[in-house]
């Protein structure tokens, strides 16, 4: 079969442009598949390794204060492998060159660190000396964002004392992969620091000598975390425990997990869509392209080649094209996947990166591409092989046209003969036209799917930051204060309005479904931080009952009017059954709300507040920030304006990169499809066009037949593509939802327009190429072989 193989190679060389376009469509599908899965697997693998090597805790608990002696009791709990006892504290920071006040999470470092959980990865410097209260290690993100290095100092308000702290080391920690300050909605590296301080020194400042206020536990293999937490809660209850929690409710882990879950969800939705669409397109393109080989297939059959040999010949050709596409796709996918992984890794400050991908990903992407391509080729070959060779070798008999629709239109509209011909072509081969329409529509559907994430995220930012949380800043207190604390906030310079809030850690339970979250108590006259109903209209809080967002409602399987069990995790640790009086919209985190009074009733205490949302006069910002830096009661501050810009520049940056990649791949696929459709159409009509040219029709006139057909196809494909994009987009947005954030399903008109413009641009480029081909059409050679 050497000669046949030679034919294959020559065919490949002859149709290289078209083969490349087909290969690119395949590459687009395969690349998305490999990229998404690679990014997810790498990050997941890196996280697992990071947690293991740095001994990230399994169970955490915070309390007001417990004597060291309790520690022995905890170590003895069944299932506990290691238990660390430490001190955690929030502090407002004053950093040089940073106008805004920052917040620091202070973490104690014991004298002996061997066997310690949540170990630090020191990037520079050393750990603080055990007796030095002025030496600290800070997290790398904070140091980088503020250009701080070992030896630099900053000030912190610790237990009412203004301390000057010297940085002796810079570190990463598995506990603070996703480092987010209290009151902030997204990470803000400049304004949130993790500060590691010698335990003895920190205890001295906070009056916690011989005591601890936080526990971290690593479990024995096979231990039951629920049981351990239950025992732990019982031990810690009288020391003001706020309930033990697992990694699932650990801030950094939960956020990281949500991000990864989102990546995983995108991987489940987008790449399969891309892969299947590209598979369909390949199938369609190859069926038609090989259909053009009809006479050669007939000849091979006529001179005695069997159907298997002939089929193999075309399968080889198709596999060669697909192979090129798959290789390009794999390389592109692996490369882009590493890009995405690096981007996320940088965002999360991983100390190292493990690139990983499943062989099965490559296998699936390869197999689906090859199978669809081979199926397309086989279908075309089988169609020809069914014909007797004598028939197959003849040019197809002149198709029988109907006067039909085109003529009716013609009677009414002054259409040219060329337009009529195009219409008749399409009416004669309606399936072929329909498949081309569907192909182009799918390509533009992909584009819309990729593009709409921009719209949805933007619309989410709009609602979350401009409709729900409209405050300029949120100040938090280290401990709940009585209402008078709000008055002192109101008296801070520039404060125009201060709305108190109370946050209480709770477990919400409905049967076996449990969720740990915070209930926010809000005043009746809230205006800064608001609650929106399903139609995004502000609404008040009922005097009784709990208001939760749709995500929580889904997680707990409750609807309005149902009763949930609330287990308060602080203070008197009351347990009550509370009615869900409303379900509202929120896009960030998990939310549950109550009126301030209703919440105080639930807690069985007088009205107390955890902090305040404030609006302030921007002109007095400096004075306000300076005041906050030295106000003992304030332990944290979140700045809304910064949150928005941080959101845009971090979370959105990750999504944008990913989406840009998908858009680029969708553009490639769209071009590949349109170009191929136009080229095949040209080949199918080559003889007819040559005949017309011989009869004296101009190039312009004959081109118009092809271009009219392309235009009609586009006219139908464009709106159909909108519909398909809408459907794919809906699927995608469902996958996007996580506990971290949800995005509303929004498609801007501009997105439809952009997708269509890309397809139309592809059509124009293809039209130009087709036009050039028509110009170069060798009339004699097309007609020569025929009588």
């Amino acid at each position: 079969m050497r000669t046949l193989d030679r034919k294959m190679l020559r065919d490949l060389r002859r149709m290289w442009a078209q083969a490349l376009a087909i290969a690119l469509v395949i590459a687009g599908g395969a690349a998305t598949f490999v990229l998404a899965s690679g990014a997810y697997r790498s990050l997941d693998e890196t996280r697992i390794a990071y947690y293991e090597r740095y001994r990230f805790g399994d169970i955490f608990a915070e309390i007001k204060r417990a004597p060291r002696s309790v520690g022995e009791q905890i170590k003895g709990i069944d299932g506990v492998a290691v238990a660390d006892f430490r001190i955690l504290h929030y502090a407002v920071l004053d950093v040089a060159n940073l106008v805004e006040p920052a917040t620091g999470q202070v973490v104690s470092v014991p004298e002996r660190i061997d066997g310690q959980q949540n170990r630090l990865h020191l990037r520079a410097g050393r750990l603080p000396e055990f007796d030095r209260s002025d030496e600290v290690v800070v997290n790398e993100a904070f140091a980088k964002a503020n250009r701080l290095r070992s030896g630099d100092t900053f000030r912190a308000l610790l237990n009412g004392k203004l301390c000057t702290l010297r940085i002796v080391g810079i570190a990463l920690s598995p506990e603070f992969i996703y480092a987010i300050g209290p009151g902030d909605l997204v990470p803000d590296d400049r304004r949130f620091a993790v500060i590691w301080m010698a335990e003895r020194a920190l205890a001295g400042i906070l009056d916690l000598e011989g005591a601890f206020n936080a526990v971290s536990i690593r479990l024995l293999r096979g231990a039951n975390p629920e049981q351990v937490m239950k025992t732990l809660d019982a031990v810690l209850e009288r020391y003001g425990g706020t309930g033990a929690f697992t990694r699932k409710d650990q801030f950094s882990h939960a956020f990281l997990d949500a991000e990864l879950a989102q990546l995983a969800a995108m991987r489940r939705v987008i790449p399969p869509i891309f892969l299947l669409v590209s598979a369909f397109l390949i199938n369609m393109i190859l069926t038609r392209a090989i259909g053009l080989e009809r006479e050669q297939i007939g000849l091979l059959k006529a001179i005695g080649y069997g159907p298997l040999t002939i089929a193999m010949h075309y399968i080889k050709l198709v596999i060669a094209i697909t192979g090129i596409g798959i290789v390009i796709g794999f390389i592109m996918g692996a490369w882009l996947g590493q890009g995405v992984t690096r981007l996320y890794a940088e965002f999360f400050h991983f100390p190292f990166l493990i690139f990983r991908n499943d062989a099965s990903t490559y296998a699936i992407a390869g197999a689906v591409s090859v199978a669809s391509a081979v199926a397309g080729a086989l279908r075309a070959v089988a169609q020809v092989l069914r014909l007797a060779p004598a028939v197959a070798m003849q040019p197809p008999a002149p198709p029988r046209y109907n006067r039909g629709l085109a003529s009716h239109i013609h009677a009414r509209l002054p259409l040219s003969q060329m337009t009529i011909m195009s219409l008749r072509h399409m009416a004669r081969w309606p399936m072929r036209a329909a498949v081309t329409v569907l192909g182009i529509a799918l390509a533009s559907g992909l584009l819309i799917t990729a593009l709409l994430s921009f719209d949805s995220v933007e619309s989410m930012v709009n609602v979350a930051f401009f409709k729900i949380d409209r405050q300029h800043a949120t100040v938090g207190f280290n401990d709940p204060q009585n209402m008078r604390a709000i008055d002192s906030v109101r008296q801070l310079p520039g404060v125009l309005r201060a709305e108190p809030f109370r946050t209480v850690p709770v477990r919400l339970r409905n049967g076996h479904r449990v969720r740990r979250l915070s209930i926010s108590g809000k005043p009746a006259d809230m205006d800064l931080s608001r609650i929106l109903d399903a139609n995004l209209r502000p609404q008040g809080l009922p005097s009784q009952g709990l208001v939760i967002d749709t995500r929580v409602a889904e997680l707990l399987h409750v609807s309005r009017g149902d009763v949930v069990e609330v287990e308060v995790l602080e203070g008197k640790r009351v347990q009550r059954r509370v009615i869900v009086s409303d379900i509202v919209t929120s896009y960030l985190g998990l939310s549950a709300f109550m009126g301030l009074e209703a919440l105080a009733d639930l807690l069985d205490e007088g009205p107390r507040v955890s902090g305040a949302h404030i609006a302030y006069d921007v002109l007095q910002e400096r004075a306000l920030f300076d005041a906050i830096k030295s106000t003992p009661v304030v332990s944290s501050i979140g700045l809304q304006k910064r949150s928005i810009s941080r959101f845009r520049s971090t979370i959105k940056q990750n999504i944008d990169y990913m989406v840009t990649v998908y858009v680029a791949l969708a553009v490639i696929i769209a071009f590949g499809v349109v170009y191929n459709s136009a080229r095949i159409q040209l080949s199918e009509h080559a003889r007819e066009i040559a005949s017309l040219r011989v009869l004296g029709f101009t190039r312009n006139e004959v081109s118009r037949i092809l271009l009219t057909e392309l235009a009609i196809v586009l006219l139908i494909a464009v709106p159909l593509g909108w519909l398909i994009g809408y459907g794919f987009g809906w699927l995608l947005i469902q996958a996007f939802s996580s506990d971290l954030y949800r995005v509303p399903f929004t498609i801007e008109r501009a997105t439809y327009a952009k997708a269509s413009l890309v397809v139309i641009a592809a059509a124009l480029v293809s039209a130009l190429i087709v036009r050039r081909r028509v110009n170069r059409l060798d009339l004699v050679s097309v007609l020569k072989a025929r009588d």
Partner: protein, 241 residues
């Protein structure tokens, strides 16, 4: 399929052969009951107006198309009873076909177009030898697009004879050729016919060519209207075009 040649046997025996083309409501009766026999080593010419069914008959003899009714026997085999695989084997092992439209593979050179057949034949000559016979030894590495119509037709003939077929079926092999080239093509066909005892059927519009044949069949309206036996065969160079 047997390869043993018994000279006394008929090569083809055609009885009541009918072929109806149906496309939609339109029916075309291309062959309306054809009877004929061909002897081993015989060279016959088929003459007749366009559309009289010559190509259709040749296609069925060559196993390229199915009959609607009637029987075609090739030696002891009933071609009309063969399935697709049987017909493929028949074409591969016994038939050399020269098509009216050459039907060369554009992506292959002259030599490669011939090799396409020699690679799957049982006892072929080399592509070079076949091309030499048709006088194209010097243009073996040209692609069809670089050859004239006559040269393409000679490549097609080389391809048909290279496998040393038992029957050689030629549909207007000289139709597009000038007289000088036509003579060369016919000489090549006669040489094959004589040297290899290949039963040869040749469709033409040029009535003068009948002078090289043993017999001539005249076609009209899907039937053989008369048969003429040629007592004194001429060499191709002797006939006047």
């Amino acid at each position: 399929m047997g390869n043993d040649l018994r000279m006394s046997d008929l090569v083809f025996e055609v009885r009541g052969l009918t072929k109806v083309y149906r496309s939609g409501e339109v029916e075309v009766r291309a062959l309306a009951g054809v009877d004929l026999t061909l002897q081993p080593g015989e060279l016959v010419v088929m003459l007749g107006p366009s559309g009289s069914g010559k190509s259709t008959l040749l296609n069925i003899l060559g196993g390229l198309d199915h009959a609607t009714a009637g029987t075609v026997r090739f030696r002891e085999h009933d071609l009309t009873a063969l399935d697709d695989a049987g017909l493929t084997a028949y074409r591969r092992n016994h038939v050399g076909f020269v098509f009216q439209f050459y039907n060369l593979i554009p992506a292959l050179t002259a030599r490669e177009n011939v090799a396409l057949v020699t690679e799957i034949a049982r006892a072929p000559m080399t592509p070079e030898a076949a091309l030499d016979i048709v006088g194209l030894g010097a243009r073996m590495d040209h692609f069809p697009s670089q050859l004239s119509g006559g040269e393409q037709q000679r490549v097609a003939i080389a391809r048909a004879i290279a496998k040393r077929p038992d029957v050689l079926l030629c549909d207007e092999p000289t139709g597009a050729l000038d007289s000088k080239t036509g003579v060369r093509v016919l000489e090549a066909l006669m040489r094959i016919n004589k040297e290899l005892a290949t039963t040869t059927a040749l469709i033409t519009h040029n009535a003068a060519i009948r002078e090289i044949a043993h017999r001539t069949f005249y076609f009209g309206d899907g039937r053989i209207t008369s048969v003429e036996i040629n007592k004194a065969r001429k060499a191709p160079s002797e006939i006047s075009w």
